[in-house]
Assembly symmetry: C2
DNA sequence: ATAAAATGTAAAGTGAACTTGACATCTGAT
DNA sequence: ATCAGATGTCAAGTTCACTTTACATTTTAT
């Protein structure tokens, strides 16, 4: 799964620290997310979409067996 | 967090077992999801939205601290 | 050049998403 | 009434999302 979180964040001119505070998660969580180290929870994905004023599907790119067809 | 998975599933006239097979998860996962016992992963939420032809935000209702404002 | 801010890495711990399996109850058709 | 299919409960296990802390590197401004 890929995401465009870093692109969105920089386009909003906020730091990882600021983003982590808005989301009530650690900065490490933001770093790992942007690096694609793990997949966020549904709630975290929803909050990110709220902050960036877009849909969850705008932020994340699902691949392979993350889709129904496989 | 609430969801409308049971309503969507019954409107599509498929059983929990059939849905679980389409999603590659256990039937227990569907039961627990419909009962609101836990929050699905982002990937599972995405697959559900694909199956039902809607968005993730159509399926799930976020409340309280699951939103940015709190 | 240097200091500060921003970003990154590493590692160990916790909780919850999801699994498996066994058994109970409800519903509908015959 | 009964049998099968669908739905539900309970419990124990595994995996991974996310945390915390501490330290290293890169970027930016002066």
């Amino acid at each position: 799964m890929q995401n465009v979180i870093k692109e969105k964040r920089t386009s909003f001119h906020i730091t990882q620290e600021e983003l982590s505070q808005k989301l009530n998660v650690s900065r490490q969580t933001i770093i790992s997310l942007e690096k694609g180290k793990y997949k966020p929870s549904l709630v975290l994905a929803h909050k990110l979409a709220q902050i960036f004023g877009c849909t969850i599907e705008d932020l994340f790119i699902f691949e392979g067996d993350e889709n129904i067809d496989g």
